[in-house]
Symmetry: C3
Subunit: 420 residues, 3 copies
Amino acid sequence: MTDLASLEHDLEAAVESILLIDPHSHINPLSPTAKSLDDLLGYHYFTELAHSVGMSRDALGPEIPPKEVVRGVLRHMERFDNTVQYSWFLHIAREFLGFTRQRIGEADCDALWEAAERVFSRPDWEDEVLRRSNVERIFLTNDFDDPLVGFDTRRYVPCLRTDDLVFHLDKPTVGSRLAEATGIEVGDAYGLRRAIGKLFEHFVSHGAKACAISLPPRFAPMPVSPDALTAALRDPDQSAVRAMGTFWMLAEFCRDFRLPFDLMIGVNRGVYRQGVYQGQDLFDQRTSLILYADLFNGFPEVTFCVSILNSAQSQELVAYAWIFPNVVTSGHWWYANVPAYIETDLRARLQAVPKTKQVGYYSDAYKLEFILPKYAMYRRVLARCLARDFVIERGWSESEAVDLARLLLRDNARRIFHLD
Amino acid sequence: MTDLASLEHDLEAAVESILLIDPHSHINPLSPTAKSLDDLLGYHYFTELAHSVGMSRDALGPEIPPKEVVRGVLRHMERFDNTVQYSWFLHIAREFLGFTRQRIGEADCDALWEAAERVFSRPDWEDEVLRRSNVERIFLTNDFDDPLVGFDTRRYVPCLRTDDLVFHLDKPTVGSRLAEATGIEVGDAYGLRRAIGKLFEHFVSHGAKACAISLPPRFAPMPVSPDALTAALRDPDQSAVRAMGTFWMLAEFCRDFRLPFDLMIGVNRGVYRQGVYQGQDLFDQRTSLILYADLFNGFPEVTFCVSILNSAQSQELVAYAWIFPNVVTSGHWWYANVPAYIETDLRARLQAVPKTKQVGYYSDAYKLEFILPKYAMYRRVLARCLARDFVIERGWSESEAVDLARLLLRDNARRIFHLD
Amino acid sequence: MTDLASLEHDLEAAVESILLIDPHSHINPLSPTAKSLDDLLGYHYFTELAHSVGMSRDALGPEIPPKEVVRGVLRHMERFDNTVQYSWFLHIAREFLGFTRQRIGEADCDALWEAAERVFSRPDWEDEVLRRSNVERIFLTNDFDDPLVGFDTRRYVPCLRTDDLVFHLDKPTVGSRLAEATGIEVGDAYGLRRAIGKLFEHFVSHGAKACAISLPPRFAPMPVSPDALTAALRDPDQSAVRAMGTFWMLAEFCRDFRLPFDLMIGVNRGVYRQGVYQGQDLFDQRTSLILYADLFNGFPEVTFCVSILNSAQSQELVAYAWIFPNVVTSGHWWYANVPAYIETDLRARLQAVPKTKQVGYYSDAYKLEFILPKYAMYRRVLARCLARDFVIERGWSESEAVDLARLLLRDNARRIFHLD
């Protein structure tokens, strides 16, 4: 092993000891771990890749027995065993399911299925996964009408997800869910403000630490007058105005309730119309953070934790976080959550964005088991950047480099989301 | 040599032994090799660079004796001897022309010219170049009215190039060539369909394995009704509708004839109006694969082999190939065919696109001699990515890494283009 | 140290011996060096980062004593000590101020302040900085009404900066400054042409070697007729036409006076409205050099030295400089002046743009002291690229690699700007 490889290895080991805060996930706190192998391989990262290499949607359908779905995904997996997504599953199988080889295929289905049944049913499995993943707190993605009860909000931190409010308020189900959650039938901008105010009160009183939304590439937030918003609430054709007005109102509530606002920018929903569940969304690289200039200017008191889907705008995010006090870089999202993109994006952030303004990573996981392999991937890239650009290039000590990592993996999230 | 350098070297050597299929070139099968040095240095990569550093277009004109054109290019070459394009020529001179030094200049003109005369006139030169380049089959770029006779279509695989049909059908020469090739005077959408059907029959019956087109950055395919297409065929001002309708029709024929459709996305023609032949085209990075969503959705049975000119949308291509079963990444095209861009693009593809959905590389060559240096450049980058991201990072064996390379350089093309 | 590290180190040392020409700065030739620490830490790179991590604008205001401003910036500096901008200041402190540790904080304020007072007041400080920075000539950024007297124009090369003329001619102060400088009250296109002609005469007769401008991402130069320009000069609402017409006229004068035209493309001014002085500008990645096609075609005699703010269009710049004889790559500007971006951009330029068409770097400095750390950063990246992509990959000798560096750092600027 060369000196550099050895240095990277040492840094990676040191960074592994940092107790994580995972500031964005889709964990269900009432069922946080996988119950069967199907809960892992049903993750869209695997179903969409299996479908992409030839598995029909029918073979993934709800009427197929879960074990057969798993068998089908495993059968197709050999065709995408080069991907980093595959390596996450391999990591889980080796770390949690006692798998010892380097390649997984259809022949492993029964053994893995049974290992999963056995392991996942252990009474202390949730605690064990968290302990072995070295994670202390995990942010959730809660529907606005989530009762937020039945779980420890210090371990699972509520986060108000607002896509439905901004983009689907015209759907009857959303309107009635909002009415049920707040007791308010929204008929105009003032009613909407009262209703959203109730949601914020509910969330904050139940330990919520962030508001979050995913946004399409062309979204351009602007303030909307109450009259214009009222008109848009009553006119199904004014979806753009309704979305802008509701979004701006959410930013006002973030300001009033001191909640950071997670902006996940760049996703177009349903692009591949016949895709598998959650495997239909793509992006358009023709987007810019300049669209958010009025928002960032308008809410200096709100911290915006910005994730981007499109690495081509990575330099924009670096520059906006460098200049705007209230803009923070946040993680490596979805299609950008690939080592080649993480490395490029991370190097630039570490070189040009203040270290206190970077939320390094989040798992985006649906089940706790995915936190470990995803963070492992990130830490490896992080260790490489720290070794090359800081210890070697800048003469930092290893412990100084680990201190920087601790900000990214833990301390910035604690401070920015007011976790104590 | 470090362990890493040695590993990369071993992998490169192993990858060199893979018998290539070159899925895109501009080879003329009736005159596949260079006849003189002018056939090499007249390649636009050299004339445009010589012009860029000061050689006048007149000195490249058809009235100048070929050897003097060569002398002029060589005289200017010292000014771009840093470029990878120069290194291709140096590679050819050393490999095929007995050149032994590291730098080529005007003083080498006579010796190289004579060596070329001698070597290129060998009766077995074509076979020798192919053997030394380790290439089995080479796809062509055939005009729609190419008779496709006089050559071995198993060695030189026909490919129907359709730019003229989509973008220049209003030009009298194109219309009359189409009439001559098909016996049909196109007057409406139905006539166009019959004519294009005849072209597909002709091409497929002569061994064509793909349809191909290059497209401008703003092109956005959409279906066009027969009436609208008929109107556009009759109205010179409706070039956009004519192009969309003809393009969509081609996709329908690709579906019906089971031909993959090579999309080469992003070129604006004639941007530098006083540029040399084939040295006038550039791009506009403001483009997106979202423009192709309807096409990819509309033709699930057609495999689209997508090349992009603009590396800024490289992540888009990765994401679209990851999600859409019928989208395949294809090569590294033109301005993106530079090691710095290849490395970035290739790393991400290898990490996130299923290995069966990547056509690794094509030469784009006009003469067989260019296959060797271009593939050598690619294999070197490929070996580096395999060494770092797979053997070292993921613990793959060298032979597993070479198996992955074989898919990219040979087996995927065989399967996708139905070569057997 | 590995062989590669040793090679990089040797190359860096060799490249350091090249006497620099710095083709773009904001140096005031009548006060070229810092007079106090405030002149260094008042640089927008530091004030904007300090503000970004929490320092209020008030604490940076003109009524605050300079030493207290410095103390405040130093107090906040620990929060951005990961950035390369911080490393520039550390480099200055160690190189010029006798600082010996690796980290700078508030506690160092008094000692650094006093060291600066002592060092910066040396009578030969200007010469010493230039000598230790190994720089021979430095281009200025002169207002159009700069008298250009009182300094050695061979050391400090005048450059006509034209943003005011193109974008602010409607402001009364600009109009009256122009009238005062030229004796012409501009009332129409012909008057503007006479006035600008006088400016060019004045500048060229005083040793100016370039014309320069910074441009917003959406700017699209086009010729404007005299009548249309006259109308636009009289109508405050026609700022776009006025800008295009004036800009085109400047290009005509560049042609007539044989001045290269520095285009610094991509900045939106005043995006962060409450930002500190010079810390308010950002960019929009949705831009393209295709917007300049008419300009590049229209002025084949003018060399355009193109800087881009947006690295996502880096490949465009490579391609346009590869094809257009009159397009030259120029430096690494502002938000792209970060090692991670420099390395990506530089590798591609070195591999695909003729070596004679690259102006490698400029300091953009406001005070001479910044030339040293900025060029040191660039040379380090350059040495790495030369080592890997040329000496190792292409078999170049070290001295050949240094010759390439000399073009980028000195000889191309001498030739392109007609410095002898």
